[in-house]
C-alpha cells in the first residue's frame, strides 16, 4: 500500500492541474465560510450560532468540484493508456483499483479536514466567543460530509472507468444526478428518496429551507446513512469488477 501511495505521489507531485484544483477548492470553501459569516453579521444573527449542519450543507455544493477532479484525473490515465502501461510494467489490476481508491479517499479526507480547519478558524476569529457547544454539537455532520463526498467520488470514478472520456463522464454524471433527483422528487415515494444522488443529498438536508417543501416523508436518517454506505460499497465494487474484468484501453 505504501508502494501504491509512493507511485501515486510521483504522478501527482508535479501535476500542476491537480494542485490548482485542490487549491481552488480550498479557496472556494473559504469563500463559502466568509459569505456565511458575513450574511449572519449583516442579518444580526450571532455568528456563534454557526453549526456543522449548516456549514456541511452549504459546502456540499462544492463537492461537484471534487467530482470534476476525480473524473479528469482518472480519464486522463485512460486517455493516455497509462493504466494499461502500469499493468504492463507489473502492477496488478486490483492494485490499479486500490491506488485510485486511496486517492479518492484522500480527496474526501482533504475536503473534510478543510471544512474542519475553516470551521475552527472562523469560530476563533468571530467576534462572538466560540461556544464549545456549537463546536461539539452535531459534529457527526462532519462524518456525514465525508461519507457523502466519498460516495459521490466513487460514483464519479466508476463513470470515468466506463465512459473513459472526461467531458462525457462529466455530462453523464450531471444528467444522472438530475434524473435521480427529479425522479425522487416527482414520485414523492419514500423508497425512491434512496436513489444514489438523492441519498447523498438527503443525508445533509437544508437546515433552513426557504420553501418549506416536503421533507416530511424522508426515510429515517440512519436509513439514509446506510443507503449512502451501501452505494459507496456498490460503486467501488463495480469499479473493481470493471477494472479487473474489462480490457484496459482508451
Amino acid at each position: 500500500m505504501l508502494k501504491l501511495l509512493t507511485i501515486e505521489w510521483q504522478k501527482i507531485k508535479p501535476y500542476t492541474f491537480f494542485w490548482l484544483f485542490t487549491g481552488v477548492y480550498f479557496f472556494m470553501l473559504f469563500a463559502v465560510f466568509y459569505i456565511a459569516y458575513h450574511l449572519m453579521e449583516i442579518n444580526g444573527i450571532k455568528t456563534s450560532s454557526i453549526s456543522w449542519h449548516g456549514m456541511t450543507y452549504i459546502s456540499g455544493y462544492l463537492n461537484f468540484f471534487l467530482v470534476l477532479l476525480v473524473i479528469l484525473y482518472s480519464t486522463n490515465e485512460y486517455q493516455f493508456n497509462t493504466y494499461r502501461q502500469n499493468v504492463i510494467d507489473g502492477l496488478s489490476r486490483r492494485q490499479i483499483f486500490f491506488s485510485k481508491l486511496l486517492i479518492n479517499l484522500g480527496i474526501a479526507i482533504y475536503s473534510t479536514l478543510s471544512l474542519f480547519v475553516l470551521f475552527i478558524i472562523f469560530s476563533l476569529i468571530s467576534p462572538d466567543s466560540l461556544s464549545i457547544e456549537a463546536f461539539s454539537n452535531e459534529i457527526y455532520y462532519l462524518f456525514y460530509h465525508f461519507i457523502k463526498c466519498f460516495c459521490l467520488l466513487s460514483i464519479a470514478y466508476f463513470l470515468s472507468l466506463v465512459l473513459k472520456k472526461g467531458i462525457i463522464s462529466i455530462l453523464f454524471f450531471v444528467v444522472v444526478w438530475m434524473v435521480d433527483v427529479v425522479i425522487s422528487m416527482a414520485t414523492n415515494t419514500t423508497i425512491l428518496e434512496l436513489l444514489p444522488f438523492s441519498s447523498c443529498g438527503n443525508l445533509i438536508i437544508n437546515p433552513m429551507p426557504a420553501l418549506p417543501i416536503g421533507y416530511s416523508d424522508l426515510p429515517s436518517e440512519s436509513n439514509i446513512l446506510y443507503s449512502v454506505i451501501f452505494y459507496v460499497l456498490l460503486f467501488n465494487a463495480l469499479s473493481f469488477w470493471w477494472l479487473t474484468k474489462k480490457d484496459l484501453r482508451a
Binding site: 508502494k3 509512493t6 507511485i7 510521483q10 504522478k11 508535479p14 501535476y15 500542476t16 492541474f17 493516455f80 493508456n81 497509462t82 494499461r84 502501461q85 502500469n86 499493468v87 504492463i88 510494467d89 507489473g90 502492477l91 496488478s92 489490476r93 492494485q95 474484468k245 474489462k246 480490457d247 484496459l248 484501453r249
Partner: protein, 316 residues
C-alpha cells in the same frame, strides 16, 4: 519454457480479433509475430500482458501461474509509448522503476542506452514520436529483464534510429535475452528473429523457425521436424524459383533457356531476362548448360524470395 500460449481467443462483438492462438517461446529465442495491419498481433500481446481480457484460452509465463509480479521481469512495449504527459522522461521512468522494484540508479543507464540521457528533464509531451518510442524502449529495459515483448519497436523512428534499435535488439538477443517482437517490417523479422509466427485476420497461418519458413517455400527439405509441422509445406507444389540472367545476345539466350526442361517461363526485362524454374537448380548447372550451348553469361543471380514476398503470398 518462457511462454506457453494455449488457444487464446479474443472477440469484439462478433468480430474475432484473435482466433485460437497457440504458440510456445523457449528461452533465448527471438520470436517474431508477423502479420498485416489488423491481423491481431497487438491483441495477442495484450492478452499475454493482462491488459486485454481473452474470451477463451490461457497462457503461462515461466511455467508458473500468471501473476502481476511476473511482468516485472518482462520489459514490454505495447502499440504506442504510454507515458504521463505532464512528467519529464526521468519522472516517467521513476514510476516504471517503482512498479518494477528497480532502483532509480538504473534510470540513467537505460536512458543512455537509447540516447536520451541529455533529454531526461524534458516533459514527455515535448518529445518527438521517435523520442517517445525510444523512451518506451528505455522503460522496457529497466531492471534488465530477461524477456522483452516489443510491439513494433521501430515504429516512428528515422532510418538511423531503426538501425540503432535493431542493433540494440540484436545485442540484447546476443546477451541471451528472450525477445518477442511484433512487426510488419519484414526484413527486420528476417534479420533478427530465430522463430516466426505469421498471422492473418486473427489466425495463425504458419509458425516455425525463420529458416524453415523460408526453406519450406523453396522445397529444400531440412530434416528437422519443425519443417514438417509447418503448414507452409502445403505450398510446395506452388513453388517457383526465379533467376535473373543476361548475356550479350539476349535473344539467343531466351531461345536456349526456353528449351531447358526445368524452365517454365522466360520474361524480358530491360537488360536482363527473368526465368522462372520449376526446380531448384544451382547456378553452376545453369551456367554450364548455357556454356555448352555457346553462350557466355554476363549475369546470373538466383532471386531468393525474401520473407516479405512470402509473407505477401501467404497472407494474400
Amino acid at each position: 519454457m518462457i511462454l506457453k500460449v494455449n488457444s487464446l481467443t479474443k472477440k469484439y462483438g462478433r468480430f474475432i480479433a484473435a482466433n485460437n492462438i497457440s504458440f510456445e517461446v523457449e528461452e533465448g529465442q527471438v520470436f517474431g509475430i508477423l502479420g498485416p495491419n489488423g491481423s491481431g498481433k497487438t491483441t495477442t500481446l495484450g492478452m499475454i500482458l493482462d491488459v486485454t481480457s481473452p474470451d477463451a484460452g490461457s497462457y503461462c509465463w515461466f511455467d508458473t501461474t500468471p501473476g502481476s509480479n511476473q511482468r516485472k521481469h518482462i520489459g514490454s512495449i505495447l502499440e504506442t509509448p504510454n507515458f504521463y504527459q505532464h512528467l519529464d522522461a526521468e519522472s516517467n521512468l521513476k514510476i516504471a522503476a517503482l512498479i518494477k522494484d528497480v532502483p532509480y540508479s538504473q534510470i540513467d543507464v537505460v536512458l543512455q542506452r537509447v540516447n536520451l540521457l541529455e533529454r531526461k528533464k524534458y516533459a514527455f509531451r515535448t518529445f518527438s514520436l521517435g523520442m517517445k518510442q525510444r523512451l518506451a524502449l528505455a522503460a522496457a529495459l529497466l531492471g534488465n529483464p530477461k524477456v522483452l515483448v516489443l510491439d513494433e519497436p521501430t515504429n516512428g523512428l528515422d532510418p538511423q534510429g531503426i538501425i540503432e534499435v535493431r542493433e540494440l535488439i540484436q545485442s540484447l538477443a546476443n546477451e541471451g535475452k528472450t525477445i518477442i517482437i511484433a512487426s510488419h517490417l519484414l526484413d527486420e523479422i528476417e534479420k533478427i528473429c530465430t522463430n516466426v509466427m505469421v498471422m492473418k485476420q486473427g489466425n495463425v497461418l504458419a509458425a516455425g523457425r525463420v529458416d524453415e519458413i523460408l526453406s519450406s517455400q523453396f522445397g529444400i527439405h531440412t530434416s528437422s521436424k519443425g519443417a514438417k509441422d509447418s503448414k507452409l509445406q502445403t505450398n510446395n507444389n506452388m513453388e517457383e524459383i526465379r533467376i535473373e540472367i543476361a548475356a550479350d545476345d539476349l535473344y539467343l539466350l531466351e531461345l536456349e533457356l526456353e528449351r531447358l526442361p526445368y524452365v517454365v517461363k522466360v520474361e524480358k526485362r530491360k537488360e536482363t531476362l527473368m526465368a522462372i524454374l520449376n526446380k531448384n537448380i544451382d547456378n553452376k548447372s545453369i551456367n554450364q548448360a548455357m556454356f555448352d550451348r555457346g553462350i557466355v553469361l554476363s549475369h546470373l543471380i538466383k532471386i531468393k524470395k525474401t520473407l516479405e514476398q512470402q509473407f505477401l503470398e501467404i497472407t494474400k
